[in-house]
C-alpha cells in the first residue's frame, strides 16, 4: 500500500482532517476525519513509502501500550477504511 499524493493532514480541535489540497486532488471533494492514532499512522507513511498492516502495527507497538494482536487488527481496520475512502492505493 501507498498513500495517494496531494493530501494534507491538518489538526482541528482534538481531531485531524485529511484534505485534498493540491492539483492532483483538486477534485477530491471529501474530507476524511481522523483521530490522533490514525493521524499518527498517516504521518508515518505520508512520505509515500510502501506499507502493509504489519508495518503500521510496528509503529503502533513502538508508540503505544498495546498488545501485538490488537495492533495488527487495528492496523488492518485502518487500512480497510483508508482504502474505502480512496486515500491509499
Amino acid at each position: 500500500m501507498k498513500v495517494k499524493q496531494g493530501f494534507r493532514l491538518r489538526p482541528l480541535g482534538d481531531e485531524f482532517m485529511l484534505i485534498g489540497e493540491s492539483l492532483e486532488q483538486i477534485n477530491f471533494n471529501k474530507m476524511i476525519t481522523m483521530n490522533e492514532t490514525a493521524a499518527f499512522l498517516w504521518n508515518k507513511v505520508a512520505d509515500g513509502r510502501d506499507f502493509e498492516a504489519q508495518t503500521l502495527a510496528s509503529f503502533l507497538l513502538d508508540e503505544y501500550e498495546v498488545a501485538e494482536e490488537q495492533a495488527l487488527t487495528d492496523s488492518q481496520t485502518t487500512i480497510d477504511s483508508w482504502l474505502q475512502a480512496g486515500i491509499i492505493e
Partner: protein, 290 residues
C-alpha cells in the same frame, strides 16, 4: 487624464490607477475611499492597451469553471508574473486579463469588454482575496445581517437562498440591517472575528463601510420544514472553506485560509439551517445563537 484613488476595506488598503472617467462607473467603491498614497494589499492599474501576453501560447496552470452562469477563471504562470483570464460566463470569451507580479501586489487590467465595471470588480475582488488571505482575512461568498450590533452571515451555494434568508431577517427584525449581500470580508482582529461590508455585493447594491463582531454563522440548505443543528468542527471547516475565495491550489494560501478558518470556527458557532424561505426560519437562526 490618469488618476489614482485608494480604498480601505476591512481595514486594508488597495489602490486603482485609471482614466478619471472610469471612476464614474465605479460608485460602489466611493464609501470606501480614503486619502492614502500607498496600499497594504495591491495596486491595480487599468490599461487602455491590449494585453502584451497571449494566453494561447501558454498552458493553464489552473482553470476554475464551476457554474454555467458564473465567470470562468484561468490562471497562467510565467517566470515573474501571473496572467489571470476572466470570462463573464463559463463558456464565453475571455473579457479581462490581469497581469500581476508574483506576489499579486502590482497588477494591470486589460479589458476587451464594454462591461468595464464587471472587469474591474472581478479583478479587484480576486486581487483582494489573493493578497488579504495573508492578513487573516477571508473573502466570503455570503449574505450578512447586522442586528443588535452583531453580525450574522449566511453561506450556501448559489441559488440556495442566502439573499432570501437575509430578507426574511429584515422582515422578522425591523431593526436589522443588510450589511452586504454577496462578498463580505471576514477578518480576525485581535483574534476576534469581525465581518466587514465591501464594494462587492452581487446583484444587490449594498456597499457599506460597516463592520460588526460575528455572533453566528449559518450554512443554509433548502428543506420542506425548518430545523437546525450545530455543526462539528470538520463540517464547519468544509463549509467555510468552500465559501472562501482564494488561490487554494497554492500551499501558502491554503495554510493561511486554514489558520483563519480554524480560529474563526473555534470561536463562533456554525449551524446548518435546513429551512423554508420564511420569517420563522430567520427567527430560528437568530435563536440558535441566543
Amino acid at each position: 487624464m490618469v488618476t489614482s484613488r485608494y480604498y480601505r476595506v476591512a481595514e486594508l488598503t488597495f489602490g486603482f490607477t485609471a482614466q478619471e472617467d472610469l471612476f464614474d462607473l465605479l460608485p460602489n467603491y466611493a464609501p470606501f475611499e480614503v486619502q492614502a498614497s500607498s496600499a497594504d494589499l495591491f495596486h491595480l492599474t487599468v490599461s487602455q492597451d491590449t494585453c502584451p501576453v497571449d494566453e494561447k501560447a501558454l498552458t493553464a496552470y489552473f482553470t476554475d469553471k464551476s457554474d454555467e452562469d458564473m465567470p470562468r477563471i484561468e490562471l497562467y504562470q510565467m517566470p515573474e508574473q501571473w496572467l489571470l483570464c476572466v470570462s463573464m460566463y463559463r463558456d464565453s470569451e475571455t473579457c479581462c486579463r490581469i497581469l500581476a507580479s508574483n506576489d499579486w501586489t502590482e497588477a494591470t487590467l486589460y479589458m476587451t469588454t464594454e462591461h468595464k465595471r464587471f472587469a474591474v470588480d472581478n479583478a479587484a475582488m480576486l486581487l483582494y482575496a489573493f493578497t488579504s488571505c495573508f492578513k487573516q482575512a477571508l473573502t466570503l461568498h455570503a449574505s450578512v445581517i447586522k442586528y443588535e450590533g452583531q453580525g450574522y452571515f449566511f453561506l450556501g451555494k448559489s441559488g440556495t437562498g442566502k439573499s432570501t434568508h437575509s430578507r426574511q431577517w429584515l422582515s422578522a427584525f425591523p431593526e436589522a440591517e443588510l450589511m452586504n449581500d454577496d462578498n463580505p470580508i471576514l477578518r480576525l482582529i485581535d483574534n476576534k472575528p469581525i465581518i466587514f461590508g465591501s464594494p462587492w455585493s452581487g446583484k444587490t447594491p449594498c456597499y457599506k463601510q460597516l463592520c460588526a463582531p460575528v455572533r453566528g454563522i449559518v450554512q443554509l440548505k433548502q428543506a420542506p420544514e425548518n430545523s437546525f443543528e450545530k455543526l462539528r468542527l470538520p463540517a464547519a471547516y468544509a463549509y467555510m472553506l468552500s465559501s472562501s475565495s482564494g488561490l487554494k491550489i497554492i500551499p501558502a494560501v491554503m495554510d493561511a485560509l486554514y489558520a483563519t478558518i480554524a480560529a474563526v470556527i473555534q470561536t463562533i458557532p456554525v449551524i446548518l439551517l435546513s429551512c423554508l424561505p420564511n420569517e420563522e426560519a430567520a427567527r430560528m437562526s437568530y435563536q440558535a445563537f441566543a
